[in-house]
C-alpha cells in the first residue's frame, strides 16, 4: 500500500492473454528503424479516452482475445471500449463503451471477447509509465515503452496520473457511435505503391475474392489465406518503407497486412494500403474472419478520414447537453484536497 503517493495506482490480478500499455504510438522515429506501435484500434482507443475525459494520447491498456483483471487502490473513474469482454466490476456486469467509477478496493475483471478482438481500458488521468521517445506505447520486440517494454504480468502495479481538471461524470457512448464487429468485413484499399507489379488478373482477383485471416495474426501483421496473387515479374523489391496498413504480397502470393508493430521497411511488393479509418475493423478481426477488399479513390479515402475525425467531435458534443452543463445549470463539481482530506465542492454560477 502506498501512502501519500503522488499517483493513484491499480494492480494487475490477472494479465489475460496479451495485455499491453498503448497510446497513439511512437511516431517520428521510423527513419531510425523504430516501429510506431500504439493502439491497434485507434477508434476504440480514442473513444475510451474520451469516455474517461482524458487528454489525447493518454496511455491505456490494450487487451487481446482474453481480458485481464485489475484491482483499484483508490476510487478511480475508468472507461472501457472496443471488443466486448463481458467486463464485471465486483461481479456486476458493466456496459461496454461507457465510463464508471471503480471504488477503492474494487476489482474489474474482463473475460473472453464475445465480439471483436481488442478491448481498451482507459483510466482518468492516463497510465503513468515513463515516456520513451515521446510515447508510452509498448513495443515488446525491442523491449521499449510500456512497463519494462513487456506485456503485463500478474502483480504489476501501475500509477495513474492525477487530472485536476473538471470532474468527469460517468459517460455512455450513444448507440450511433458503437461499431458492430462482424466476422465478414469489407476493407477499403487505396492501390499502391507497387500496384503496377501485379498482373491485371491478379489485381482483379484481389479485389473480387474473399480472404481469411490466418492464425498468424498479431500486432505486427496479419497473414491472409485465399486465392493467389501473381506478380508480373519478381515479388521482391529494393526495400522501401512500410506504411501502416500496407498490403505486402511475397512470392507465395498470399497477402500480409502490416499493422501497428510492423517493421519500418520491407522488401516485398505492396499491392495497396488499407485506409486508416478501416484499420479499426481489422484490429477487431480474429483468425478465421473473412475479408473482402474494396478499391477506392484518393478523394474517397480522404473523406473517410475527415468523417472519422468528425465523429470524435460529434461524440464530445453528444455529452454537452448533460445537466452538468445545460443552460441555467452551470454547476461544476471540483475535488479539493485540504490537508490530505478530499472534499467534493459544487460550484454553481448564479446569474440574475
Amino acid at each position: 500500500m502506498k501512502v501519500n503517493s503522488m499517483f493513484n495506482s491499480f494492480t494487475t490480478i490477472n494479465p489475460g492473454f496479451y495485455t499491453t500499455i498503448q497510446d497513439e504510438g511512437r511516431w517520428g522515429y521510423q527513419a531510425y528503424g523504430m516501429p510506431v506501435a500504439g493502439a491497434m484500434d485507434r477508434y476504440a482507443y480514442r473513444v475510451a479516452n474520451l469516455l474517461a475525459g482524458n487528454q489525447a494520447n493518454a496511455a491505456t491498456i490494450e487487451m487481446t482475445m482474453l481480458g485481464a483483471a485489475f484491482k483499484f487502490d483508490e476510487n478511480q473513474l475508468v472507461a472501457i471500449g472496443g471488443a466486448d469482454m463481458q467486463a464485471k466490476l465486483d461481479g456486476e456486469s458493466v456496459s461496454n463503451w461507457s465510463s464508471f467509477l471503480a471504488p477503492k478496493g474494487s476489482e474489474l475483471r474482463f473475460g473472453y471477447a464475445v465480439s471483436g478482438c481488442r478491448a481498451y481500458l482507459a483510466l482518468r488521468g492516463g497510465i503513468q509509465v515513463p515516456s520513451v521517445l515521446g510515447s508510452r506505447s509498448t513495443y515488446t520486440r525491442a523491449k521499449v515503452g510500456g512497463l519494462q517494454g513487456r506485456a503485463l504480468q500478474q502483480g504489476d502495479s501501475l500509477d495513474i496520473g492525477r487530472d485536476f481538471g473538471r470532474e468527469v461524470r460517468p459517460r455512455v457512448l450513444a448507440a450511433a457511435f458503437i461499431p458492430r464487429y462482424a466476422q465478414q468485413i469489407g476493407i477499403r484499399v487505396l492501390p499502391g505503391p507497387q500496384d503496377d507489379m501485379f498482373t491485371t488478373e491478379a489485381t482483379a482477383t484481389f479485389f473480387r475474392s474473399e480472404y481469411t485471416i490466418s492464425d498468424e495474426a498479431d500486432r505486427m501483421g496479419y497473414r491472409l489465406e485465399g486465392p493467389k496473387i501473381s506478380h508480373v515479374g519478381k515479388a521482391d523489391i529494393v526495400s522501401d518503407a512500410l506504411p501502416l496498413g500496407a498490403i505486402q504480397i511475397p512470392a507465395h502470393g498470399m497477402p500480409i497486412i502490416m499493422m501497428a508493430d510492423r517493421q519500418t521497411t520491407g522488401g516485398y511488393a505492396k499491392i495497396g494500403t488499407v485506409i486508416g479509418p478501416d484499420l479499426t475493423k481489422l484490429a477487431q478481426a480474429k483468425p478465421g474472419d473473412k475479408i473482402r477488399f474494396q478499391k477506392i479513390t484518393e478523394p474517397e479515402a480522404v473523406e473517410a478520414l475527415r468523417q472519422e475525425r468528425e465523429s470524435y467531435l460529434r461524440i464530445l458534443s453528444s455529452w454537452e447537453e448533460t445537466p452538468e452543463s445545460a443552460p441555467g445549470g452551470c454547476k461544476r463539481t471540483l475535488k479539493v484536497a485540504v490537508q490530505g482530506v478530499e472534499y467534493n465542492v459544487e460550484i454553481e454560477e448564479i446569474s440574475d
Binding site: W27, A31, Y32, S239, D240, P243, E298, A301, L305
Partner: protein
Amino acid sequence: MNGIKLLQAGEQGLVVEFGNIIDEVVNIKVHRLAKQLAQDSGSAILEVVPTYRSLLVYFDPLECSRRELGELITRLALAGEAAGGASSGRDAANIVHIPVCYGGEFGPDLDFVATHNNLTVDQVIAIHTSTPYLVYMLGFTPGFPYLGGMSEQIAAPRLEKPRVKIAAGSVGIAGSQTGLYPVESPGGWRIIGRTPIEAFNPEHPNPFLFAAGDYLQFKAVSRDEFGAIRREVAAGAYRPEITSLQRG
C-alpha cells in the same frame, strides 16, 4: 531531372521514388529531400522515412492536399538537382567512428570469413576498416544500419541456420553487406566482431548513434580497449568520434 515518381501509400502516405536500385547517388538524393522537407515544410508533414531509393512522407491530407504536397516535393527535388547537377551534389555528411574488437568470442565467424576468401584474419580486418560505409537506411530493428560499400573481397554467405540470439553491438557480414546489431536479436549474419558502444539506447538523450545518410568507419581495438570504452559507456562518459565528410 531524371524523373522522380510520386506513389500512393494510403491516404496519409506519399512515396517519392528516386529509382529502384541500391545506388549511392540515388540514396543521397533521398536523404537530401528528407532534410529539405524537415526544414521547409509546415505542420502538414508528420514524418518522413528514408530508404535505399525512396522517401515515404506521412502527411495530413486535411491540412495539405496530396497535389499541393506533390508540387512542393517536385519543386524541392528540382532545386536539389539544379544545385547538385547530375552528380550526387555537394554537401557534408557525418562519419561516425565505431571501435570494434574483432575475432575471439566477440567475432566467432571471423575465421570463416578469412578462410572463405583465402585471406588472413588480419587482412579481413584491414579491408573491413579501410573505408567509410554509407548508412543507406535504418530498419529491421531500431537503429539497424543497412550499409553500402563493403569490398567483395571479404563477402561471405549468411549462416544456413540463423542464431537465435546475437549480442547487441555485434558486427557482421552477409553477402557483400556489412552491418551491426544495435539490440540483441536473432540473425543469420557472419559475426566478425563487437563494438563496445551503444548504437541504440532509448534512455539516452540522443538514443540513436547514427542516422540514415551518415557514414560508419570501423576501427579495430584490442580487448583491453574494448573493456575501457565499455566502462566509459556504462558511466555515461563516452563521446563517439564524429568527423565530417565532404561529398560531391
